[in-house]
């Protein structure tokens, strides 16, 4: 069972149901504060367990002794599998999951739209367009060749969306419209090239599922550093985002410039989601769903929502990756598919059980 699953059970919906009488909740904020710290500890423990699982579980069954030998003893026959395949795969999985969870939470807070995800800025389409461009015009076939390219494509699409939305005049609604336009144009381009060229179609077929299969060939240190840096920027936006949650006018009154905040937010989202997408392909589900689960537990304070979304995203992606490796052993099911299969019904039940929180 994932932490993502557990979160709402720990937290009966606080206010959105409106059923609980006010006087019965006299100590709610303090209780919630304590609960949130406990939840954080549970989340970190879950990530530790999942990390061990992710290193221990795979096509080749190992006991923990063999795993330990694989980590510490270069002479052990499990060493190559553990340090060269599973360790980087786990690190990338954690980093990409954290990036997608945080990018989704930032996106929803910045646009005050509970259905927003980084894909709304054109991140996925931009990366996809770059990947087919590389495959068709430059003959890229390898995964490592496409990483930098995909990241540049994601970034270019975001910048295009921001400029089309009117740059400094961009409002959440204009961003959504511009993102839809960029996505439509990018999708048309990707489809056109795929129809023209079978090799590009083949490359895209694997890329577009969303997978950690090739993660061990990614440059782990740069990827983790980039995500770490953008995460720090993202987390620092929590307080101004709390002000922005009260509306652009109130935020201005409190001394937040919404235009500056949006530029900073879009930059952080681009690096987070762009890096994750470049390495894993489009995994859309994490950014959309994780912040919803988190808010149901933490309430609307971004000081909690953002770190929680990061950790829950990391736990969720590694969990689904492990599931994908276990269910079809010795083969595996790509993490993008597991995310959708596990997360889809869960999201539907979440939305139907309680109203989607207004931001």
């Amino acid at each position: 069972m994932s932490t993502a699953h557990r979160a709402p059970d720990l937290a009966p919906p606080p206010a959105a149901d409106g059923a609980s009488p006010g006087d019965a909740r006299g100590t709610a904020p303090r209780r919630r504060g304590g609960r949130r710290v406990t939840g954080l500890i549970v989340l970190l423990a879950a990530i530790a367990v999942l990390t061990v699982l992710s290193i221990a579980v795979g096509a080749r069954a190992m006991d923990l002794g063999e795993v330990w030998a694989g980590l510490t003893d270069p002479a052990a026959d499990t060493y190559p599998v553990v340090t060269e395949l599973r360790l980087p795969r786990t690190a990338i999985g954690l980093a990409a999951g954290a990036a997608l969870g945080l990018a989704g939470a930032l996106m929803q807070a910045m646009t005050r739209n509970p259905l927003a995800d980084p894909g709304l800025l054109g991140v996925n389409t931009g990366a996809a367009a770059a990947v087919v461009t590389g495959a068709y015009f430059l003959g890229f076939t390898g995964f490592t060749q496409t990483i930098g390219f995909a990241f540049a494509g994601a970034a270019a699409a975001t910048v295009a969306t921001y400029l089309i939305a009117g740059a400094a005049a961009a409002t959440p609604a204009r961003l959504a419209l511009a993102g839809a336009a960029v996505t439509a144009a990018g999708f048309a381009y990707v489809s056109a090239i795929q129809l023209m060229d079978a090799a590009s179609l083949e490359t895209m077929r694997f890329w577009s599922v969303g997978s950690l299969v090739n993660a061990h060939t990614a440059p782990v240190v740069p990827v983790v550093t980039l995500i770490g840096f953008a995460s720090a920027v993202g987390i620092l936006l929590a307080r101004p985002l709390n002000a922005l949650a009260l509306g652009d006018a109130t935020a201005t009154g409190l001394g937040v410039d919404p235009r500056v905040l949006r530029v900073a937010g879009i930059a952080a989202i681009t690096v987070l989601a762009g890096t994750a997408t470049a390495v894993c392909g489009p995994i859309v589900f994490v950014g959309l769903v994780v912040p919803h689960v988190v808010r149901a537990f933490t309430g609307p304070d971004q000081n909690w929502v953002l770190p929680y979304s990061m950790l829950t995203g990391a736990a969720f992606l590694v969990l689904t990756d492990v599931i994908g490796r276990v269910v079809a052993r010795p083969g595996e099911v790509q993490v993008g598919i597991v995310c959708a299969v596990v997360g889809g019904p869960f999201f539907i039940s979440l939305v139907s059980r309680r109203k989607v929180a207004r931001l």
Binding site: P14, A249, G253, D301
Partner: protein, 265 residues
């Protein structure tokens, strides 16, 4: 007249090419409860937006403490000037105490997070607006009048000597309108400078100490309610034939629309 902490100087205000006010010069007198009034689309909310630095004049300037408001750091401005917009939004599930606490934003920084001072000021703001017993309630459970008091508490927690309120009584029933205006009057008596846009002429005349009447983007009359709420001004500003009598409760001018007014329809 005392020095003006907030003023517009020959400001041209509008949205894109649509100019609402040209060459508008307005002084907000220190320590007064100023009410800006006028018919719909007279430019009163636009003026308030400009004074709150939400709208940058295409020509001219808005001065805060004698300096261009757009040349001052926005957080520094937020420690001088609080704003309650017309329709602020509260995120779902936020408690009253958490919402009021967000008013402390301009006093905090990366290194200076929540402090005992923040706790004290937030508590005082909730006492002043009589919502202390609602502290742990969800904002979405409250009545319209309670919710407006919560928003005023949020702006009070900002601890600014200047408060701008954009139609603070809209959407409230009469009892809550009076409640909010009495609260504004109290804040004024405690020494704050208030600027509000109001729709109700009689409420403006009763609570304001300084009135600015606007029409067509220009200031038509300005001064103490007793001096400028006259039948002539009301006709000039609102096209409304009326009589003015003394409000039997407060002695302030009371506008009684003429029975003939129905001929306008």
């Amino acid at each position: 007249m005392t020095a003006s902490p907030l003023a517009a100087r020959e400001a041209t205000l509008g949205y894109g090419r649509n100019v609402i006010s040209a060459d508008l010069t307005v002084d907000i007198p220190e320590g007064e409860f100023t009410v800006i009034m006028g018919p719909n689309a007279c430019g009163k909310s636009t003026l308030l937006k400009a004074l709150a630095r939400m709208l940058k004049p295409s020509h001219g300037t808005v001065l805060l403490d004698g300096k261009d408001i757009h040349h001052q750091p926005t957080r520094a401005v937020a420690r001088r000037l609080g704003l309650l917009p017309q329709s602020p939004t509260a995120p779902d599930g936020i408690t009253v105490a958490d919402l009021v606490a967000r008013g402390r934003y301009p006093h905090q920084g990366i290194l200076r997070q929540w402090s005992a001072e923040d706790e004290r000021v937030t508590g005082e703001a909730m006492e002043a607006t009589d919502i202390a017993d609602l502290a742990s309630r969800g904002v979405d459970e409250l009545s319209g009048g309670q919710r407006q008091r919560v928003w005023i508490a949020m702006v009070l927690a900002q601890q600014t000597p200047l408060l701008l309120l954009d139609e603070p009584t809209t959407y409230l029933d009469i009892t809550h309108q009076i409640e909010v205006l009495e609260l504004c009057a109290k804040l004024h008596r405690e020494g704050r400078t208030l600027v509000a846009v109001l729709h109700d002429l009689n409420q403006a005349a009763r609570y304001a100490t300084h009135l600015i009447a606007m029409r067509g983007g220009a200031v038509v009359a300005e001064g103490a309610p007793a001096d400028i709420v006259t039948a002539e001004t009301v006709r000039e500003v609102f096209d409304l034939p009326c009589r003015i009598i003394d409000d039997p409760e407060s002695g302030t001018p009371l506008v009684i629309p003429s029975a003939r007014a129905r001929n306008l329809v």
